[in-house]
Amino acid sequence: MQPKTYSIFSGHGSKSGIERAAEVIFTICGFFAVLAVASISLYMLISGTPALFKVGILDILFGSTWMPTAASPSFGILYVILTSIIGTAMAILIGVPVGVMTAVFLAEVAPPKLTKIVRPAVELLAGIPSVIYGLLGILVLNPLMYKLELKIFAGSTTHQFTGGANLISAVLVLSLMILPTVINISETALRSVPQHLRSASLALGGTQIQTIFHVVIPAAKSGIVTAVVLGTGRAIGEAMAISLVSGSSVNIPLPFNSVRFLTTAIVSEMSYSSGLHKQVLFTIGLILFAFIMIINISLNNILKKGDAQHD
């Protein structure tokens, strides 16, 4: 028989003080994130909705005249909304194919030595502050666009010259900025495709390229869609860089027009706005917020669908 050594009862019950304290701290931290999201949502709703009713929902959303400081002001932001949608869509159209191809290169094609050079470069791209992208756009893109503009619209009397600060510049900067997001997430998705699927395709006489396009990319589809959605979120929320290169005046989003996005509208006007004008800017914020929410919800749905497929 073993002698009794120590009792398993303690003075503090089943958990020690440190355990309890740690639990409380973790819980508070968890709630803090929820609190932040909830309060931001609430704040945006409270401050963004009044103007909608004061000006009229249709007048704001579908009005095409933006004259917030005129004697009889007009607050139509249709062109601003369109600019954000079209600008983002075009950036996705350019950035996603390039990004996915880069990811394919990194995950499937590149020899390890080359991967070691390209991947850090991509990671660095993600770390560059957005204002730097804007500066680069001013230095490189805008002069280029101005030359193009002078050529295309030579002799035009209706075109308002922008000096190259136009929608194309903004789109190109945006597509560059979403690259790291698209590349990193797509590459992870491609790498997680099991090796045995590649072997199966090669053993059937498939070439490497056929294997990539017919097996690997389809198998990584949900990851690549995630990359696209997150890229969209990044593009639509970007303000700093594009405010520098887009010319920032409200116009129809045509390639060579100087344009204003939802984000840049807030950035460029908030400092001098007051009264109803300021409230409308908050409404613009609310619309942007709604876009981001829609993107996030659709992302969650995609991820859920992806999980369901694996079950």
């Binding site: 199966a200 006489g205 070439t207 097996v215 497929q309």
Partner: protein, 254 residues
């Protein structure tokens, strides 16, 4: 058919993974419309040898292969060989069932499609013929558009066989095709193999000696990268010439 026509013959085949000499002077002949089994303990090189026959080992980094493998008299390691044509001629079924995450139909049609067949009715015919050839048609004909991942392990493996048959190979390499399956599925695949050899030349790696005796016409016993003995199956299992073969098949090691 009792005459043995040589389909594949390898002579003085050596394979190195880096400094590891994994196959040593392998000389072996596979006969047309026969099943040849490769047996031996884990790591003896039998799977490695199988993969040299359709050059899947090319994909392994730092691999070096010497010697020659003749397929109908053509050296498959010749500079002029297009591996996609080679692998179209020599199909492979892997240890783990590895269907693509797409429909049953698309799995089988994958091979013909990448080899350029686009005609829908032609594809339909190939899919039906291949699934029948793999004894799976009855079970899946009503759900061809459903995901292949919804099939049982045994069905998935027969689907992989159908997928290999769809490119009309002449040789079928099977790398322990039943090791991940339950006994009933295993039996189905063994029955199937008997039918397959009517049309194809089959090579199978197996851990299961009973399986070799049940299905194979010839059996090769591998040990640390060498072929110890290669003979008609009944001969190898009843009157082994080499002491090591006898030790292995009587279960004294391995």
């Amino acid at each position: 058919m009792n005459t043995n026509t040589v389909k594949i013959s390898s002579s003085n085949l050596n394979l190195y993974y880096g400094s590891n000499h994994a196959l040593k002077d392998v000389n072996l002949e596979l006969y047309t419309n026969k099943i040849t089994a490769f047996i031996g303990p884990s790591g003896c090189g039998k799977s490695t040898y199988l993969k040299t026959l359709n050059r899947m080992n090319d994909l392994v980094p730092n691999v070096k292969i010497e010697g020659e493998v003749l397929l109908d008299g053509e050296n498959i390691y010749d500079q002029r060989v297009d591996t996609t044509l080679l692998r179209k001629k020599i199909g492979m079924v892997f240890q783990q069932p590895n269907p693509f995450p797409m429909s049953i139909y698309d799995n089988v049609a994958y091979g013909p499609r990448i080899h350029g067949i686009k005609n829908k009715s032609e594809l339909d015919d190939i899919v039906e013929k291949s699934l029948k050839g793999a004894a799976l048609w009855e079970e899946v004909s009503s759900r061809l558009k459903k995901s292949a991942l919804g099939l049982s392990g045994g069905q998935q493996q027969r689907l992989c066989i159908a997928r290999a048959l769809a490119v009309e190979p002449e040789v079928l390499l099977m790398d322990e095709p039943t090791s991940a399956l339950d006994p009933i599925s295993t039996l189905k695949i063994e029955d199937l193999m008997d039918e397959l050899k009517e049309k194809y030349t089959v090579a199978i790696v197996t851990h299961n000696m009973q399986q070799a005796t049940r299905i194979a016409d010839h059996t090769a016993f591998f040990l640390v990268g060498e072929i110890v003995e290669y003979a008609p199956t009944t001969e190898l299992f009843t009157v082994p010439k080499d002491k090591r073969t006898e030790d292995y098949i009587t279960g004294r090691f391995g």
